[in-house]
């Protein structure tokens, strides 16, 4: 691998590391991170395909509340390096991505813990009215997140493809790699469970089952589900408005349920 490639790889990995904590532009998602890594390493097509495959597996990896998703950034960049430079199969890349995501999560937990130090430094700068100081504390946290992906990625890129690494990868028993691939098929449920718990509404679970049943017995795609979901949400809100109108009508004692319905202004909805 050329020096230019190593430098570009460092930059791409740093961007994905920053994106993984920011969760804004989504450079850390496999579909983007693997594509960019593939471009740098001179095999965009493999990067795109690996990215698409990993993305399907990672659809449910999301940061909600204080909980953290498995780390897509390190998993995507490093598995793309091992597949492209180390000539591993896409299947091996997927199997490797899973433990890498767990390792990346440990690293980000570590960084998020040491960033507490910058939090206290920021307090000190606030006392001094030093806005630039607070901005630098913010930047420092972000840079640590960039390095926690960029450094391991470059280190692995320098040894990937060598006999030692290939032998090490090939010496992993098949039961482990195939087992991880199998787990990759259902590891997403943790993410789904986190989001469902967050919405935490027993009475709304009927919509979850509706989505499940439609998916099992039809060929509707996800855009279709978005549309069906929006329509269900519309009727659900209508229903809530009706209930409230009836309650209010009952409280004032006057009017009927039917009359109250007409007072609802749909334009208030959105």
């Amino acid at each position: 691998m050329s020096e230019v490639q190593l430098i570009l790889l460092f930059i791409v990995a740093a961007i994905t590391g920053m994106a993984s904590v920011l969760d804004e532009a989504q450079f850390h998602r496999p579909i983007i991170a693997c594509t960019l890594t593939g471009m740098v390493l001179g095999d965009t097509t493999t990067g795109v395909i690996l990215g698409g495959t990993l993305e399907m597996m990672a659809l449910g990896w999301m940061n909600v509340g204080a909980a953290m998703a498995p780390d897509a950034a390190l998993a995507s960049v490093v598995s793309a390096i091992l597949v492209i430079v180390g000539h591993q199969s896409i299947g091996a890349g997927i199997a490797l991505a899973v433990p890498l995501a767990a390792a990346g999560q440990v690293l980000t937990i570590f960084v998020r813990t040491i960033t507490v130090f910058f939090q206290h430094l920021a307090d000190k700068y606030a006392d001094e009215g030093n806005t630039r100081g607070i901005e630098l504390c913010h930047l420092a946290g972000l840079i640590l997140q960039a390095l926690r992906v960029a450094l391991p990625a470059v280190a692995i890129a320098m040894v990937a493809g060598t006999d030692t690494v290939n032998n090490a990868l090939n010496s992993i028993p098949e039961v482990i790699t195939r087992g991880l691939q199998v787990a990759g098929g259902f590891i997403v449920v943790v993410g789904y469970a986190m989001v469902i718990n967050l919405m935490n509404a027993q009475k709304l679970m009927v919509y979850f089952f509706l989505g499940f049943l439609i998916a099992v017995f039809t060929d509707v795609n996800l855009i279709g589900f978005g549309a069906i979901g929006a329509i269900c949400a519309y009727f659900h809100i209508k229903d809530m408005q009706k209930d409230i109108a009836i309650q209010e009508a009952a409280m004032t004692g006057g009017g009927g349920g039917g009359g109250a319905d007409d007072d609802i202004d749909d334009s208030d909805l959105m």
Partner: protein
């Protein structure tokens, strides 16, 4: 006294900085530095000296919400700080109260819409195309998601600032409640679909084998039984098990490691393939 006024330029820089809200996320006060840094253009415009120090301090308080909807909170707090700088009777306690009060409800709307619906839908769309090796897949996901995201940030800051405290009164009202439940309905329906379609479990464990009357060899595996009863029932049960474990306070990382172990052991004993 001259009236202190936040400029369009200040709001623009708050919008830019809001894109880096989580940069220094830490386990003590989470997005607090990011929030403070996003507010700096506004705070520097309206406060000087000790007042600025106090304002910086109060925006280094705990903050954590869905990052895109946070922009609206920045706009609202900006409008309130501006009023306070001009002598309105808004105490620091009120400001904190509004901020903390908005975190939960806005995350309640933002999480199901952005993480639960828009991102998985666009990512699955993009990934489907990417599997063919086409660059259009990643591009569609990236462009569409970021267009929606940037619009949310931009209008969040602008709308939050222009409506200011007016919006806060609505948060406790019915509309916010409608929006949260509506977002949850949408999110849950999509989650149901994702559990069914975007998971893969194959259980090739052979239950029975025989040659039928036509002389064909018929193999019944665990998977064919599940498929004839209710396909995807296994991922559904796994989802429920994870929900239970997470509710009981188990660390998500531990749940994930547990599923790895299940995959490896399951493959080893021939339950999964």
């Amino acid at each position: 006294m001259e009236e202190k006024k936040v400029t369009k330029n200040d709001l623009f820089w708050t919008f830019i900085r809001s894109n880096f809200l989580l940069g220094s996320f830490n386990f003590e006060r989470m997005q607090s530095i990011g929030f403070c840094v996003s507010m700096i253009p506004i705070l520097k415009r309206i406060y000087k000296g000790d007042e600025l120090k106090a304002a910086l301090k109060r925006h280094l308080e705990f903050f954590n919400t869905q990052p895109f909807v946070a922009a609206a909170i920045m706009g609202i707090i900006g409008a309130m700080e501006e009023k306070r700088a001009n002598g309105a009777d808004i105490s620091p306690a009120t400001l904190s109260g509004v901020k903390v009060g908005l975190i939960g409800p806005l995350a309640g709307v933002g999480d199901p819409i952005f993480w639960g619906t828009i991102r998985p839908v666009l990512a699955a769309l993009g990934a489907g195309i990417a599997l063919t090796g086409s660059l259009i897949g990643p591009l569609i996901f990236f462009v569409a998601f970021n267009a929606i995201r940037l619009a949310t940030h931009w209008y969040g800051v602008q709308y939050g600032y222009s409506k200011g405290t007016q919006l806060v009164e609505n948060i406790g009202g019915n509309e916010m409640h409608f929006l949260t439940e509506g977002a949850s309905v949408l999110g849950l329906l999509v989650m149901g679909a994702l559990v069914a379609k975007w998971t893969s479990v194959n259980m090739p464990l052979v239950i029975s084998e025989y040659d039928n009357a036509m002389g064909e060899h018929v193999v019944t595996t665990l998977q064919t039984i599940f498929d004839s009863l209710m396909p995807s029932i296994v991922p559904l049960l796994m989802t429920f098990a994870c929900m239970k474990l997470l509710k009981a306070g188990m660390n998500p990382l531990l749940v994930i490691i547990g599923l790895f172990a299940l995959g490896i052991i399951g493959y080893a004993i021939g339950l999964f393939a």
